[in-house]
Symmetry: C2
Subunit: 144 residues, 2 copies
DNA sequence: AATATTTCCGATAAATTTGTCCGAAATAAA
DNA sequence: TTTATTTCGGACAAATTTATCGGAAATATT
């Protein structure tokens, strides 16, 4: 469904958010350790998310990644998916046609658009804060 | 969403089905020409679908691919997706966790399972016959 | 100023997916 | 039986994604 890069990115942001809730800044090594993702690759993805201003980073000793509470309430899953995977998940045709719309639809178009809309809505109505508090409360996990 | 192999496979089967509705058997070259997919790669995918008994093939002159009307009413999109992409689209965790279920869910689990269920239901309730008749009636297209 | 720590970022490597080629096997027709 | 046609299937090639490495840049502490 999502690329590996996107999976790592979402897991990383959720972990950073939970630590930020406790006012702790985290290093890339911590992120990798606590999300079970490859460190160097995750660093790449976090660099991308930093450039997109989705997460804040600081270099040097006592540096690392952090996310303000107000920001984690604004940022939705769709923002992260869009930053990493682009809009293919929203616009792409189920059968890979370059143009596919209500006027000239592929045979799956109608039904597919409906399901994809549900996915989109889910991503657009879920904030990082929602996910971080759920993890913080021990109601979910990030590794395994 | 789906792999290229899967996209080509579904397009190919729909095309074969519409031709079978007119009692015409089609060669791999016809399939490629009328679905806009790479011939050799599509042949590979059709070989897989043939082994899965999703489509019928005959070698030699006047050979090709065909699909009986009764069969195209039985075969659902989910059968094709499963044959080519496996069950990852149904079972896989949104965040890539190897184990993720209601007892030990990732933070996205609940919402994701719901959306994925809709996708699954859509695939399981759509037959090839449905799609082929829609194409035959000129209500949709397979290329572009 | 020197040092240690940490993110940033480009180069490279490995793995997977996508795509091509070509000869073997099957089969219908002459 | 020969020939032409067509799918089958393995080997290979290209492209993309995933993953690693190492040095540059920034910065806090001493």
């Amino acid at each position: 469904m999502f690329s590996k890069a996107c999976e790592y990115g979402i897991r990383a942001i959720i972990y950073i958010a939970t630590e930020s809730l406790e006012n702790r800044r985290v290093k890339i090594g911590d992120v990798a350790d606590n999300t079970g993702s490859p460190e160097a690759f995750t660093a790449k993805v976090l660099g991308l998310l930093t450039r997109h201003r989705i997460v804040n980073s600081l270099k040097g000793p006592y540096g690392g990644f952090e996310l303000s509470i107000s920001r984690m309430k604004e940022i939705r899953l769709s923002d992260i998916v869009f930053a990493i995977d682009g809009d293919s998940i929203y616009r792409g045709c189920a059968l890979g046609l370059s143009e596919c719309n209500a006027a000239e639809p592929c045979p799956m178009h109608e039904k597919f658009v409906k399901v994809r809309g549900e996915l989109r809505k889910m991503l657009e109505t879920t904030t990082i804060h929602d996910l971080a508090t759920k993890l913080q409360a021990g109601e979910s996990i990030l590794m395994r």
